[in-house]
């Protein structure tokens, strides 16, 4: 008998990029940021990131097992969530804290909603939001000064407690004490810009280095994994609003301080661009980005928190299904409209 050959529906050739390939590429592009964080804040950065990644992978596997789904942790999406979750929490938190964030991110937000592709909110940011609500002290005070500025030994704080290592983030200082206090604590503006750009400042594990995040983002753009509309519109709206409303008088705000502080750049390139939770078409993406930037600045300038990127993105995530519905692709050649019957 003649051997029977495989059959399947066309097309019979596929381009090579895969879901897992995308997840691992995005994860890989964040490694330089992690290395700088280890240099900045010590090995704590590494251990918290590991704790977060392992928790996310384990939670995902347990959920999939329990829900009777195929276990798909190899696709790298839980690993990426783990990295991003670690990157938006302060380096001084206890090592068990990311476990709770992982449960919120993966179990509640992702697997209970149907798994990969069905979550409404960005998983890492759901994790961060829950931790901020549940452990406000850790999440708003466990900062470590950059080694470049304070010359702390790299092995510091690994096992010890957190007594006396607290510092304040630039945004906190700016929000509560103003520009003058900011320059007093972090140096004159040129020094601030240089250190903030390179990442030598207190902040969340993966949020400090604007330049490394930008390089990672540009790499992802070159690989065609993310596109410009969301990052550019987010950064542009943060820049414009901080310039117009961020200063003592109108049109005098510290644009660069706002752009380079907190999670704006990481959020714009790595969080707001999450495929599942952001709209798919360019116009909708630009509106989404403007919304993220606008809400971020609203929270920063008028809200109770010094930083607003996390909630801004989570709020805009809620609007994604609507944006996807309002903005559909323009059809190449829809049927001609049937002549409307004359209304009686």
């Amino acid at each position: 008998m003649e051997p029977q050959w495989a059959v399947s529906i066309s097309p019979h050739i596929r381009q090579t990029q895969t879901t897992a390939g995308i997840m691992w590429t995005v994860s890989g592009s964040l490694i330089p940021v992690l290395l700088l964080s280890i240099y900045n804040f010590g090995l704590r950065s590494l251990f918290i990131t590991l704790s977060s990644v392992i928790s996310c992978v384990v939670v995902e596997a347990i959920c999939q097992r329990a829900l009777g789904r195929p276990i798909s942790v190899k696709d790298g999406s839980a690993v990426l969530t783990g990295i991003l979750l670690a990157f938006v929490i302060p380096p001084g938190v206890p090592y068990w804290l990311p476990i709770i964030g992982a449960v919120a991110a993966i179990f509640i937000n992702k697997q209970l909603m149907g798994g990969l592709g069905f979550n409404v909110w960005n998983p890492a940011l759901v994790g961060r939001a829950l931790l901020t609500a549940a452990f406000p002290v850790y999440m708003t005070a466990a900062w470590i000064p950059s080694r470049e500025v304070s010359h702390v030994p790299i092995l510091n704080y690994i096992w010890g407690g957190l007594d006396g290592v607290s510092t304040a983030t630039p945004l906190y200082v700016l929000r509560h004490y103003g520009m003058e206090a900011l320059t007093k604590q972090f140096g004159d503006l040129p020094v601030i810009y240089t250190n903030f750009l390179l990442g030598f400042k207190p902040g969340c594990i993966g949020e400090t280095s604007a330049v490394l995040i930008l390089l990672g983002g540009l790499f992802l753009m070159a690989r065609g994994i993310i596109t410009w509309p969301i990052p550019v519109s987010t950064l542009a709206s943060v820049a414009v609003i901080s310039w117009v409303f961020g200063g003592e008088t109108w049109l005098s705000g510290p644009v660069l301080v706002h752009l380079l502080s907190g999670g704006v750049i990481l959020g714009a390139f790595y969080m707001a661009t999450d495929y599942v939770t952001s709209p798919s078409l360019k116009t909708a993406q630009i509106i989404f980005g403007i919304g993220v930037g606008g809400l971020t600045m609203l929270i920063r300038l008028k809200g109770g928190y010094p930083e607003g990127v996390c909630y801004a993105i989570l709020l805009m995530n809620c609007l994604t299904p609507a944006l996807n519905e309002w903005f559909r692709p323009e059809r190449f050649a829809p049927p001609k409209q049937a002549p409307v019957a004359a209304a009686k």
């Binding site: 399947s8 529906i9 019979h12 995308i22 495929y275 059809r331 190449f332 049927p335 001609k336």
Partner: protein, 441 residues
């Protein structure tokens, strides 16, 4: 120069044309037996007009369509009708076929060139019809019917589709290169049948030699003055050879959903079809031979070959030295829109433009994942549809609600599935959605 192109979407798959694009068309010796399926065209299945043990000549009519759309079928060899029995079919799974044993002693039939310029439009059309010509690009729509647009249609342009945008396939390329004068003359015949003045041959810019050859042929043939034919390069981008896309590239006219090219005054013909028209009109030769590309990395000797319609694939494989052990999939047609075939007992039909033998490196069969909403399919779809939503609706059992995404305009080019990183079978989902819309549930 980037060249003219369509307005939306499209992809750039690896071409793989290097396997066969430099190989001249060779004629495969006729096989000992042919199997001619009774359906090789769009429309009603043909009825046999020959009996068992009847002797038939090469080119003799053996089946006809009495009522409705269709085309007659001719014997591709001189020999004896053995039987009529169900055989595998490239797109219909199984279909009755007339089996003819070739008479090894019979000489190949010769055709003499005739002057056609004195024939009327009706006489020309009758030759196309009697020759059993159908659209050879794949759809198999009877060409005589296509060449008789309703009198209300204001026709002004004939487009010859030389885009050949499917990877691997080099059939039309070789025909344009080796027989440009036949392509040009076929175009002039069709322009005359249509009673119009203009024709344009659209060729993807990756075939500069074919463009050159056609331009030279056009200069030589200017004596007839049966209308103005031109060659136009178009951008290399899949699906440039899709009817609606090519019309837009060349004319900036868009055929509305549910409409046909003659709604915008255009008729599109495939290159092989044009040569078949040329042979039918200038030599009274019916369509029973087919030039096709046999390619892929699992066939020992890739080639462009002219075979008798009805030649069983296993004979073609034997002629080309067999297949390698890593053969995974046999595809009739191009890799983007072709049909996978489960056996080598399938005969070559009129619409077979190529057969690909793909190994596990070239093609794959694997699981797929959930949609991650990357939106790549939205960028790739040349019709501006929303494949990702259609797929999710179908998975949720709601395919019948996808009409608002334009599902009925989908022509299954495969761009969406080609780019999908989750490897979702989006073309399959789209087909199911169309069935759902038609059924209403």
């Amino acid at each position: 120069m980037a060249g003219l192109t369509f307005s939306k979407g499209g992809v750039h798959p690896e071409e793989h044309k290097e396997l066969t694009e430099r190989l001249a068309i060779e004629e495969m010796p006729p096989p000992a037996q042919v199997a001619l399926p009774l359906s090789m065209h769009f429309g009603a299945i043909a009825q046999p007009v020959v009996k068992k043990k009847q002797e038939v000549q090469e080119g003799e009519v053996i089946a006809v369509v009495e009522k409705g759309l269709g085309a007659p079928i001719h014997s591709s060899v001189t020999g004896t009708v053995k039987t009529v029995e169900p055989r595998p079919h490239p797109t219909m799974v199984r279909c009755d076929a007339i089996i003819i044993d070739r008479d090894p002693a019979a000489a190949p039939r010769k055709y003499e060139r005739e002057n056609w310029t004195t024939l009327s439009r009706e006489q020309l059309l009758a030759r196309v019809k009697d020759a059993g010509i159908v659209g050879l690009g794949g759809a198999g729509f009877p060409t005589a019917v296509k060449l008789s647009p309703p009198p209300t249609a204001k026709m002004d342009l004939l487009i010859l589709n030389g885009a050949e945008c499917e990877p691997y396939l080099t059939t039309d390329h070789r025909i344009m290169l080796e027989h440009p004068e036949q392509v040009v003359e076929g175009a002039k015949i069709m322009v005359k049948i249509l009673g119009i003045k203009k024709g344009v041959i659209g060729v993807e810019l990756n075939k500069p030699d074919a463009i050159n050859a056609l331009q030279k042929a056009l200069k030589v043939s200017d004596g007839h003055d049966e209308g103005e034919i031109a060659v136009q390069g178009v951008q290399v981008k899949y699906p440039q050879g899709s009817e609606k896309q090519l019309i837009y590239s060349l004319t900036k006219r868009s055929v509305p959903g549910g409409g046909l090219p003659f709604d915008v005054g255009v008729i599109v013909q495939n290159i092989s079809t044009t040569v078949a028209v040329y042979e039918a009109v200038t030599m009274n030769k019916p369509l029973y031979e087919k030039v096709m590309t046999v390619s892929g990395r699992a066939i020992k000797r890739p080639a462009n070959i002219k075979v008798k319609v009805g030649t069983v694939l296993s004979d073609v494989v034997e002629y080309l030295g067999g297949v390698s052990d890593d053969l995974l999939k046999i595809v009739s047609g191009g890799p983007m829109m072709g049909f996978a075939m489960s056996s080598m007992d399938v005969p070559v039909v009129k619409t077979t433009s190529g057969v690909l033998f793909l190994n596990s490196k070239e093609t794959s069969i694997g699981p797929y994942g959930p949609c991650i909403h990357c939106g790549w399919c939205l960028q790739a779809c040349p019709m501006g549809l929303a494949p990702k939503e259609i797929g999710i609706y179908v998975e949720a059992g709601k395919g019948h609600l996808t009409e608002r995404f334009g599902i009925m305009e989908c022509f299954e080019c495969g761009c969406c599935a080609y780019v999908c990183p989750a490897k979702r079978p989006l073309v399959q989902f789209c087909r199911l959605a169309k069935i759902g819309v038609k059924r209403g549930s």
